[in-house]
Point group: C2
Amino acid sequence: MNLKQLSELLHLSQTTVSRALNGYPEVSEATRKRVQAAAQAHGYAPNMRARSLATGRAMSIGHVIPVSSKHEMVNPVFADFIAGAGETYSRNGYDMVLSVVSDDGEEAAYRAFKMKGSVDGIIVHAPRLGDPRIHLLNEIGLPFVVHGRASDAQEPYAWVDVNNTHAFERATRFLLDLGHRRIALVNGLETMDFAIRRRHGFEAALAERGLSADLALISSDEMTEAYGHDTARALLARPDPPTAFLVSSMITAIGVRRAIEELGLVMGRDVSVITHDDELSYFRNGGDTRLYTATRSSVREAGKRSAEMLLDMIHNQTGPQELLLEAELTLGQSTGPTSKET
Amino acid sequence: MNLKQLSELLHLSQTTVSRALNGYPEVSEATRKRVQAAAQAHGYAPNMRARSLATGRAMSIGHVIPVSSKHEMVNPVFADFIAGAGETYSRNGYDMVLSVVSDDGEEAAYRAFKMKGSVDGIIVHAPRLGDPRIHLLNEIGLPFVVHGRASDAQEPYAWVDVNNTHAFERATRFLLDLGHRRIALVNGLETMDFAIRRRHGFEAALAERGLSADLALISSDEMTEAYGHDTARALLARPDPPTAFLVSSMITAIGVRRAIEELGLVMGRDVSVITHDDELSYFRNGGDTRLYTATRSSVREAGKRSAEMLLDMIHNQTGPQELLLEAELTLGQSTGPTSKET
DNA sequence: AGAAGTGCCCAAAGCGCTTTGGATACCAAA
DNA sequence: TTTGGTATCCAAAGCGCTTTGGGCACTTCT
């Protein structure tokens, strides 16, 4: 059923039917009702491609999902981010189109979005330091929102981010207050902007107390479970093992915990752990009692906010907006004062 | 830059330019080269919406991602599934469009895909027993591939699935061979087809040995970490605790392990655990030595295969195909013979 | 009574592409 | 020389929608 057929069926022009359905005022309420009823009855919905062609709006938002060529890994937070964003899209009649792309093909993917005219805006995931994408997108001229930031970007751009620096600063202070001095940072890949900020926060808190970070206790890699395990295992085998771990992801923290327990130690008593918690739906931090002390910020909420910001930019032609979300420091069982040893 | 502009620039007709770019033979190699060069130089790519309107093919595949209204959970395997499928799509010039939808809005989402004409085919996720979607989609008339099966479907449909029954049958036998008799099944939601099959496999293996499943040892829910933990915790507190757990997801298995260790027990020695491993990229089963004994099957591979099947069906108008993938039983450190007690 | 709205509807152009059905030129075959 | 074939190109229709620019019949105002 297309517009033409529907209009013939109703003995009306396509114009009128189209207007009736799209809520234009130049049509009487009586016929509007009639048209809507008929559309409903015959299951008519405008062909999006035709409509898009006519209006110039694609009514869809593009996400470029990078797949790490190293671990063939797709960041697990995407699922939740997308759930948050997707909800907003569908509420506003937008579709979400995903382009899964390995590290190298990224630029082409963004250009393709523009050239093929298949989206009205783009969400940029996982910005890196010196990320060329924000310049690229400004040049391309498609509205976009970055989930995260690119600290050294020269141009204005819209972003939604968690205050990573502050979060890890507070977490570090918290550990320091508990008496910890040898704190390991099990960070994400430090080509990623968020990881750099977390490290800065970590270092800033140490500096505040006149301490400086022990490079041997800092590691950086893709945040798998195995990475957490192997790193913690190695660090705990040192002559002067860390008494606390600051971990960049819940999944990695699982691995850290595994290493701790393999050594017969107890997390929260012998070794403290604070992790960042994205509130992934399948990984809620414990049940009633939280397992991990964590810097918490819902990535799903970030997805929702990013989508809203982008749609707002598209509809109101507004310039780049910025939104900084604060992470909560939530107490769990994974932290405690240092044991008596020195 | 659009076709018209490009053709004027080349002093050719739109027809010729279009044909040159699309590889039709009615154009000399010389002009084809010239056209391709110009297209490249000016960054021309055909507008997908216009092309789709003209050809009737949307060049994109729809995925409906259900979000559990209960846990607001989006299944973590989607990310990897989509990574696998997405690669295949982009290699074939297809886009992937996602529709995130809560349990109730599903039917509308599929209908919308058809009516709006925005996709050429659909991948159906997480089929349930008595899933109305396969009938719906057959009625709608869009090619589709189900990731999983709906055991009681009355009509033919295309699917890609893991042999869940067989996998859990083997896993159960393996535990039985190790001497385990009180085996707990920590299953996924048994409205899901895969969970039902796994349970059948579990029960079949028990029946083979003249045993029958103890209902008290069987649980079923959405596969979060907390669910694994709480369930195992409760079961292990029984007067006759299970000596082994058969778990439906790696994430849930993490929770089971946590419960085991909280009680001062050691997984693999005091309590055995087998889990299903989807080979999620960020959750590779241990490093060199596998942590869990597992029934393993890559969900990413399943995504790839599903996408290939769907594209094949679309291009060659072939009827529904079927693909059953076998899961490997991989040995890890999480299983061992029963302890001496009874 | 005539002018000026106003409410309701329509014909047709146009979005950017593909594809049908020629047109033209050239060459080999009859 | 005529015919038929082949290689190369083009004009125009059409995909299904929105939107411009009226048209027509009533009211309402002067």
